[in-house]
Amino acid sequence: MMKKSKVFWGYAVLALVIYAVVQILISTNVLDIYYQNMLITMCINIMLAVSLHIVIGITGQFSIGHAGFLAVGAYVSAIITTKLLLPFPLAIFLGALAAAVAGLIVGIPTLRLKGDYLAIATLGFAEIIRIIFLNTDYVGGAAGMQVLYLSNWSYAFIGVVLTILVISNFTNSRHGRACISIREDEIAADAMGINTTYYKVVAFAIGSFFAGLAGAIFAHNFYIIQPTTFGFLKSFDILIFVVLGGLGSLSGSVIAAIFLTVVSAYLANFPETRMIIYSLVLIVVMLYRPTGLMGTKEVADLFKFGKKGGTK
């Protein structure tokens, strides 16, 4: 017990140091607008990667419709700040909550499906969500919706810390172990008395909640949101973070999200090249290292040489 809280405070101090250093760099203008924007995008991508990690990496449910929940969070929070003129933190919370509700609505019927069928069904739901926004005149339809610029580095960073904190605690809890057992063998987990449907839906809803949180910050960072932003490609973008980082590794997906944000920022002027590289990476990783770069290991595991064995 002592040991655990020590690790926790270690990470808390690390987070504070990162925050303080970046905040000082921003206030002394070492990091200009371009880099600030890149940092916020990075935070959004980390949140998305970690929120999909709990669905694919931990629970083993292959969802390729994550952009749908991003869209729900973005639009709901944008309506709250821009149309109803309520404060931004409330908008973030309600956007995330709306996405979690959408996750429940999508998850309860579809999570009975497995593998390929689940993937196609989540893709279908994400498209339906997108088409609903596309055909709603209240949010601007295809032209998109103007959103106030309210997000900044602090909101984004707090979002990341919150996401990682909740999801890593969930993973290490009784519920998280139940989810991992579903990933390893659903039938065996069921036979052991785990309510598989319940845990799959819970993991899906938590994932959607944090995707919605990311969506709220996303919407208030780009002045305008359009339904086309939340198509197939956005879902695949999020998927590649998780796949590259390692299916089942939280730190892996964080690292992949950071790395790919930087790569795509430098390739922003060559969108085709970026997608060609992305797809080649996806294919090569799957052919030669199907568990992703980190597998199910965490970065912290790499430093614990003394305690090998025992598990597995």
Partner: protein, 291 residues
Amino acid sequence: MEWIQQLVNGISLGSIYALIALGYTMVYGIIKLINFAHGDVFMIGSFIGFYAIAKWELGFFPALLLAMVVCAIFGVLIERIAYKRLRNATRIAALITAIGVSLLIEYTTIYFRGAQPAAYPEVITNKSFDVFGVQISSTSILILSVAIVLMILLQFIVHKTKIGKAMRAVSHDADAARLMGINVDNTISATFAIGSALAGAAGVIFGVYYTKIDPLMGVIPGVKAFIAAVLGGIGIIPGAMVGGMLLGVVESLVSALGFSLWRDAAAFVILILILIFRPSGIFGKNAREKV
């Protein structure tokens, strides 16, 4: 009368979906992989037809044949390079690879020719027949007849030839088929070749009928053809035909009711309903899960 008009449009659209869905269903039946890149083979077929007609001034049927042959080779290449190593991999790994191949084909095409759409040349003089007050264009008759001929040909290959017999055997039980002396790898390649050729044909017909093609055109018809395959019962060839036609008709009717913007949503709603209430599809049998 307008309803019958929409029905005719729906059947034309549906026959394109059906041709693509056949490739999905055959590949799924034999290696249990959703070949996401299938929609992009359709796109490649469409572009080959475009270049054949516009640049090399071939007629409709030579262009159709050329597109089918090139797509067949292309399909086999995809299978040999990307999917063959994944025979024993997890389903998620195979699915992610298929998504990767799909994106690679799309963006390599954009890289080489740009994302702008191309206008399909008019290769057949379009006449309209007036049948009991319904306007039926000659292109939609042509589409339907090409699709039907190809489907009959496919039925013949699958049921009357040696390779068709091998395909059915491998999809039933690959290990037993191998023990019986069937070359499983070649049979899988043949399945990809036939499926991709049908997608290539669908690409050319799509171009002739809708006259506008672009490198990302394969995504939506690809997903919808997959829905059609699921609707009919995946792995079942007549199911894909019926599912495609049905989906085309439903979409046209949704448009006719004045909800044309919701057309794509209708297809996904059908998919979700069928997955929840009858996951084995219209023609499918319920298979019990074995441990």
